[in-house]
């Protein structure tokens, strides 16, 4: 084919279908017709999402792949069994259970990704920004993608089959129940994606980002608390919580199913209609927010520029520089800010739930229970080398990370550990009036937190895991892939090790608890804990020596590429 020359006349538009040298510059119109364009996009979007899911599984290896498939089938069967069990229950109990189950599932579906974090490129509208798609076409792609994948497919199958088995009776319920199940799925998808879009928009400002994180943490803590007390809620007849949950929009399909089950056709159709309206509204909101995201771009707000303080807070030594950098990152890094907000809210919730479950009349136990709040933020201390490891090469070239460097990294985890503990202490002190005892425990929390750092120092060098410092505080799901076992093992080992390291503190306290000498225990314990931390840091720095290249290979293989 002869390649023509570009002239002014050749740049003028030509009728489609013309060939040869006079063919116009510019993209060719796609061959699909206008009417079929929306439907035609569905298979492509479904294939894309399915390929992404299966390719990701393929990378994890055959064993993990099998495991995921087994879990998917088991999850579907479990859903079918749990929901199907309602067939044998009486109508009132089945109705309460269904409302609780469906709202829990919806809350998990809608807010779960927020708590876990995650980026799904097939749902993110900004990934489609360069394609010549109308809003409708883009929405069809996003919806098709959102409904594809192992999670949505298994959840939908479980809901439709389980609800049909458990709640249908002869008559109109045979139609209403599966319809309500599908509406419920669509409602959950629309709500989840709308929330994700709202969060993406909120992240454009620092305050918005922090507020989004705080709200997510509060919701997470609420769900966690609800899960802890779920059985008690069901045991109470006419529970106000069930009544409240019944009015949440995600429970409306459940109310339709409950009405259909007992043969109340009009309320069943009414709730189904209201649910459908809610689902449509959520999808319209999602589409609108997606458009807004595209128009405004995806750039997130950067952290504030430096103030008038001395550079690196006046640091003059290596230790000061490391400590200062960690402190700066605690404030400027969205990941670290999320960590401290999440850890604080969850820590407080966790410790208070544990205290409440121990029953009343045990104020001393409650005071010591505040120490459990540290458990929610172990991650701040157990992976200090893995966080933002992309720039580790710079420290390695400067001769690090050294003992003081490791100490500086660890020490900055103290606020993450102590803040939730002390906040829990305030709540416990107010409710039990054990101010003195809570103050003693709050002081003891310092050496115990240092013991957590000692454990973290060892773990951070023995088993570091890459954790990128992303601008999107909800975007770290991928970095956690295949590392759930590591987190679980570390959590269990941490509990045992920290209890062992802190045992002498409690023995000493028990010995002098009744006397004023008990106030000596916190400072003495702190000296003991600091000695352990120093020893651990010395060992850790020696352990790293000579292993830096392997560390970089493990944590940031493409950091220098």
């Amino acid at each position: 084919m002869v390649v023509g020359t570009v002239t002014a006349s050749s740049l003028q538009s030509q009728p489609p279908g013309s060939t040869g040298p006079t063919e116009p510059i510019g993209p060719t119109e796609p061959s699909r017709g206008e009417g079929s364009s929306l439907v035609g996009l569905v298979p492509a979007a479904v294939r894309l999402r399915w390929k992404l899911s299966t390719n990701r599984l393929r990378r994890r290896g055959k064993r993990n792949r099998r495991l995921v498939y087994v879990f998917a089938v088991a999850y579907t069967i479990l859903n079918v069994v749990v929901l199907g069990q309602a067939r044998t229950a009486d109508d009132a109990q089945a109705a309460s259970t269904l409302v609780l189950l469906m709202t829990s599932m919806a809350l998990g579906w809608v807010f779960g990704p927020v708590l876990i974090g995650g980026v799904d490129e097939t749902i993110d509208p900004t990934r489609l920004a360069l394609l010549p798609l109308t809003s409708r076409e883009r929405y069809v792609i996003q919806l098709s993608s959102a409904l594809t994948g192992i999670g949505p497919v298994t959840a939908t199958a479980g809901l439709v089959f389980g609800l049909s088995i458990g709640h249908t009776r002869l008559g109109v319920s045979l139609v209403i129940v599966p319809c309500a199940a599908l509406v419920a799925v669509l409602f959950m998808v629309g709500s989840a994606r709308s929330l994700a879009a709202v969060l993406a928009i909120a992240q454009r400002s620092r305050v918005g980002r922090d507020m989004a994180v705080l709200l997510a943490a509060l919701l997470g803590a609420a769900i966690f608390t609800m899960a802890q007390f779920g059985r008690r809620v069901l045991d109470v007849e006419g529970s106000p919580l069930i009544a409240f949950l019944g009015w949440l929009p995600w429970a409306w399909p459940a109310r339709s199913i409950n009405a259909a089950r007992v043969g109340s056709v009009t309320p069943a159709l009414g709730w189904l209609l209201v649910s459908a309206v809610g689902a449509v509204a959520s999808h319209l909101l999602w589409a609108r927010l997606s458009d807004l995201l595209l128009r405004k771009g995806e750039r997130v707000a950067q952290a504030r520029r430096r103030g008038d303080r001395a550079l690196l807070n006046g640091a003059t030594t290596e230790f000061g520089a490391v400590l200062s950098r960690q402190w700066i990152y605690l404030r400027r890094s969205p990941n670290n800010r999320v960590g401290i907000v999440f850890g604080t809210v969850f820590g407080v919730a966790f410790s208070l739930v544990q205290i409440a479950q121990q029953g009343e009349g045990s104020d001393e136990l409650a005071a010591f229970g505040i120490l459990l709040a540290m458990a929610a933020n172990l991650g701040a201390a157990t992976n200090v080398l893995g966080f933002d490891a992309g720039s580790l090469w710079l420290e390695v070239l400067a001769g690090g990370p050294t003992k003081v460097g490791l100490l500086g990294r660890q020490l900055i985890a103290l606020p993450n550990l102590l803040l939730p503990t002390w906040l829990s202490g305030v709540v416990v002190a107010i409710t039990t009036r054990q101010w003195t005892l809570v103050l003693l425990v709050a002081l003891l929390a310092v050496p115990i937190a240092v013991n957590v750092l000692t454990f973290g120092t060892i773990t951070s060098v023995v088993s570091p895991a890459p954790l990128p410092d992303l601008d999107n505080p909800f975007g770290n799901r991928q970095s956690n892939e295949s590392r759930g076992m590591r987190i679980a093992v570390i959590a269990v080992t941490a509990m045992m090790t920290i209890i062992t390291l802190s045992a002498p503190i409690f023995v000493l306290l028990g010995w002098v608890f009744a006397s004023p000498a008990r106030w000596i225990v916190p400072p003495v314990s702190l000296i003991y804990a600091c000695a352990l931390l120093w020893a651990a840091s010395t060992w850790a720095a020696g352990h790293i020596q000579g292993r830096e290249p392997k560390l970089i290979e493990r944590l940031a293989p493409r950091a220098f590429n």
């Binding site: 570009v6 063919e23 116009p24 510059i25 520029r305 430096r306 520089a321 490391v322 001769g399 830096e548």
Partner: protein, 264 residues
């Protein structure tokens, strides 16, 4: 193939002998030999994936070789690269820096890690920031820097301790002409003070213009090496042609296959 002799009596800033690195079944670097004379400007050129970056990583002590040895100013890099790290400054291609520090905080941090006095670091970094045209944006976060600014701040960090050898991986990639010129001027100043520069690139014009020595790396091996003068037969040949000849690259064989890609 050694086209020109590097004077054997001239001291070497960098010497690599049989450096080899394998990643699984793939041999990324296959017995590479390099002799970089002190005070030279040495270009390592090669196609993408030739092993340039891997070689530099092994030379600076960030990646342990499977075989072979490397020395910087006569100091062996392996098995303990600690001493060598004081002698080298490095500018990587894919710049992972401390994104949430400002430019001046970043330099101060690197300087303090290298155990310099705070005042000395501030003096040096202020001079470098001014020279590189970053003085007005020194308070901005590194995350907000453009690619050219990132290259410049990373170069400042690499120069801060006045290294004997500077190893630069694609220093001019994605950099605008103004920033390129500034970087070149700073590098020429450094070299004028006795420094040695090793830099990798696949932009032949830049290499031909700046370097006095060059090694063409292909598929993990040195295909040719020597002075630019000799490689180009006193500039009668273009380095690009020498490069294409050395790596054995062919032309597009079936241009008709892109018949639809036509402009009238």
């Amino acid at each position: 193939m050694q086209l020109s002799s590097t004077n054997p009596k001239r001291p070497l800033a960098v010497e690599a002998d049989g450096l080899t690195k394998r990643f699984g079944d793939k041999t990324a670097v296959d017995r590479i030999n390099l002799q970089v004379p002190v005070g030279s400007w040495y270009g390592v050129v090669g196609p993408n994936g030739a092993g340039k970056t891997t070689t530099i990583r092994m030379i600076v002590g960030l990646l342990e070789p499977d075989d072979g040895t490397a020395e910087i100013a006569g100091v062996p890099v392996w098995p303990d690269p600690t001493a060598v790290k004081r002698l080298v400054g490095v500018l990587p291609d894919d710049l992972r820096l401390f994104e949430r520090l400002s430019g001046e905080e970043f330099l101060l941090y690197v300087g303090l890690l290298r155990r310099f006095e705070r005042d000395e670091v501030l003096r040096r970094s202020n001079e470098l920031l001014t020279l590189l045209g970053l003085d007005r944006t020194a308070g901005d976060l590194v995350a907000d820097y453009s690619t050219g600014m990132r290259k410049k701040i990373a170069l400042a960090a690499a120069l801060l301790h006045s290294p004997k050898v500077l190893l630069l991986d694609e220093p001019f990639e994605s950099v605008d002409p103004v920033s390129s010129r500034i970087i070149v001027e700073v590098l020429q100043h450094y070299r004028g003070g006795g420094g040695t520069i090793v830099f990798s690139s696949h932009v032949m014009d830049t290499v031909e213009r700046l370097c006095d020595h060059v090694a063409i790396v292909s598929e993990g091996r040195v295909a040719r090496s020597g002075t630019v003068d000799a490689m180009t037969d006193r500039f009668k040949l273009r380095l690009e042609d020498v490069f294409v000849d050395a790596v054995g690259a062919g032309a597009v064989t079936n241009p008709d296959g892109l018949g639809w890609l036509s402009v009238p």
